[in-house]
């Protein structure tokens, strides 16, 4: 596993996912571009939507943690030490952040309310 350069990493991911990797990377790139563009606009969630999004993101984050060991033929009993818990934490965070990001792109609307100015 020594010397895991970005090129090597892409080659390994390509062996894992085949052509689907390029679709995944394309979608991720689009999400990134839209996300960054939207960040420069003023956008907002409707209050009730924001709550649903946060609940969904949390559920996906927790769900990812719960199924990750099973997807590797392991169980929670095998999680041992800081490394494993930190990795599960990262999985939860990635799940949570991805849902939030997707929701931001798909569900947020331009904020057309006038900017409040000082009298």
């Amino acid at each position: 596993m020594k010397d895991l350069s970005p090129g090597t990493l892409v080659a390994i991911l390509h062996e894992m996912f085949g052509f689907f990797l390029w679709i995944l990377l394309g979608v991720a790139a689009l999400m990134l571009v839209f996300g960054v563009v939207f960040l420069f606009q003023r956008r907002r969630f409707r209050q009730n939507r924001l709550q649903v999004v946060l609940i969904a993101a949390t559920a996906i984050g927790i769900g990812a943690v719960l199924i990750a060991p099973m997807l590797t033929n392991a169980s929670f009993a095998n999680i041992h030490g800081l490394l494993d818990w930190a990795s599960l934490g990262a999985i939860a965070l990635i799940g949570f952040a991805s849902v939030l990001w997707m929701a931001y792109i798909g569900l947020s609307r331009p904020d057309r309310r006038p900017l409040r100015t000082e009298p």
Binding site: M1, D3, G7, T8, A11, L21, H80
Partner: protein, 435 residues
């Protein structure tokens, strides 16, 4: 309808691989060295395919010939997972043709004779192939016949397991292990006294059996006996100490200086050669790992070590840093065939292939090469289903962890994930010369 879809998938796969190749430094066709050199690669396993891919990417105009008899390529590190019931036999079976670079000519034969004085090899059908450079990548031969009474057809029966023989044998071994875990009893483990590939595998298999016995509630009425061939459990002292600690924790019985010499399947009796004479032990389950030697074609050739520890089993005489033959400057060795300390893993192949290729190309260009192989070997040492230690080391027994955040001698889930999910794609990327 089926065929075009397959073709399309193949096209997409190779298009993807090409796209990656184009982004990697080694493949720049513009930087390729122009040459008319004739290069023969003897053996198309992990090492042969990796070397062929790298040479094809870095040379322009060379005649690269790969000699490999088998249409099936086995991802051998998967055998342990098959033998543990985690993966089916098909997990390890790949097609050789899928990993041969387009500019490489494949001869589906076996090398019968090496003639380094005449700069040629002769195949089994009698075809002579002259070369300017030869890369020997034949791997090693499993010598089951050296164990009296042992026969491949016994694997999976009479409590006999042996994952080394191939994927279907690994699956049969799993059946034997599952039956043993159900009933409990005495399990015998050990390793041969010869050099061997993946020296961690015998330990992993003992740990896995222990795990299954515990899961089945039969551990209390069972005995795990590990018969080490010499006075250590692992050749790297730090790892040896750790394995001893784990063996104690798991209550394994350990004997040193015991080498399996014969089995009697009808009576379930194994005979071990020990310093104080032969000893018999009864088994309910036995994990047989055969002695390993260089394949006959190399063993009987002038390419073998002439003296020293690697002479008896006919290993290839190469310089351990440059992997160039010590007596024939246009011959290199990569992989299990090399008579070097340690280094009989796919992880070693990954580090040896670029070194040997760089020296070969450096000879063509006259520029030489400063690349050195330091003996890097890696072994995800499984200690139970779902946990492993990522043990990596070099010729000098230094631990050489790839990731500073993974302690090499601690059992974690993440090294297991690496073994279970990452190593195979890493391996196939290596075959394509991309890792």
């Amino acid at each position: 309808m089926d065929k075009p879809r397959l073709r399309r998938r193949e096209f997409l796969a190779s298009a993807g691989a090409g796209l990656i190749a184009a982004t990697l430094p080694l493949s720049g066709a513009a930087n390729a060295v122009r040459t008319k050199a004739r290069i023969v690669i003897a053996g198309g396993g992990a090492a042969g395919l990796a070397v062929a891919s790298r040479l094809a990417a870095q040379l322009d105009g060379a005649e690269i010939v790969l000699i490999e008899p088998s249409e099936e390529h086995f991802y051998q590190p998967g055998f342990t997972l098959i033998g543990a019931g985690v993966k089916p036999a098909s997990y390890s079976v790949l097609k050789t043709k899928d990993y041969i670079a387009p500019d490489v000519r494949w001869i589906k034969e076996r090398v019968a004779e090496f003639d380094p004085e005449g700069n040629k090899i002769v195949t089994e059908s009698g075809t002579a192939l002259p070369y300017d450079f030869l890369v020997v990548t034949t791997g090693l031969a499993l010598d089951y016949a050296a164990i009296v009474g042992m026969d491949l057809s016994l694997i999976g029966r009479e409590g006999i397991a042996s994952v080394y023989a191939g994927p279907t044998y690994a699956e049969a071994s799993w059946r034997a292990l599952a039956a043993f875990a159900g009933t409990g009893g005495t399990g015998l483990f050990g390793r041969p006294a010869t050099e061997m590939k993946c020296a961690g595998a015998p330990l992993k298999q003992a740990f896995l059996a222990d795990d299954y016995l515990r899961r089945n509630g039969t551990r209390a009425k069972s005995k795990i006996v590990y018969n080490a061939h010499n006075q250590t459990l692992f050749s790297v002292p730090l790892v040896d100490a750790k394995v001893r600690e784990l063996f104690q924790r798991q209550e394994f019985e350990t004997n040193f200086g015991h080498v399996l010499s014969a089995i009697d399947p009808a009576r379930h009796i194994a005979t071990y050669a020990t310093p104080s004479g032969p000893i018999e032990m009864k088994w309910d389950f036995i994990n047989v790992i055969p002695p390993m030697r260089a394949p006959a074609a190399v063993r009987k050739s002038p390419l073998r070590w002439q003296s020293g520890p690697f002479a008896a089993d006919g290993w290839l005489e190469v310089d351990r840093a440059t992997l160039r033959h010590s007596r024939y400057a246009n011959i290199f060795g990569v992989g299990d065939i090399n008579g070097v300390p340690k280094g009989k893993t796919a992880a070693s192949v990954k580090w040896q292939a670029p070194v040997a290729v760089d020296h070969l190309i450096g000879t063509i260009t006259g520029k030489g090469s400063a690349e050195r192989y330091n003996g890097y070997t890696s072994c995800p040492l499984i200690t139970k289903i779902g946990q492993a230690m990522l043990v990596e080391f070099d010729y000098d027994n230094n631990l050489t962890p790839s990731f500073p955040f993974i302690a090499p001698l601690e059992e974690h889930w993440i090294p297991w994930v690496i073994k279970e999910k990452v190593l195979k794609p890493n391996y196939t990327a290596m075959l394509r010369g991309l890792a």
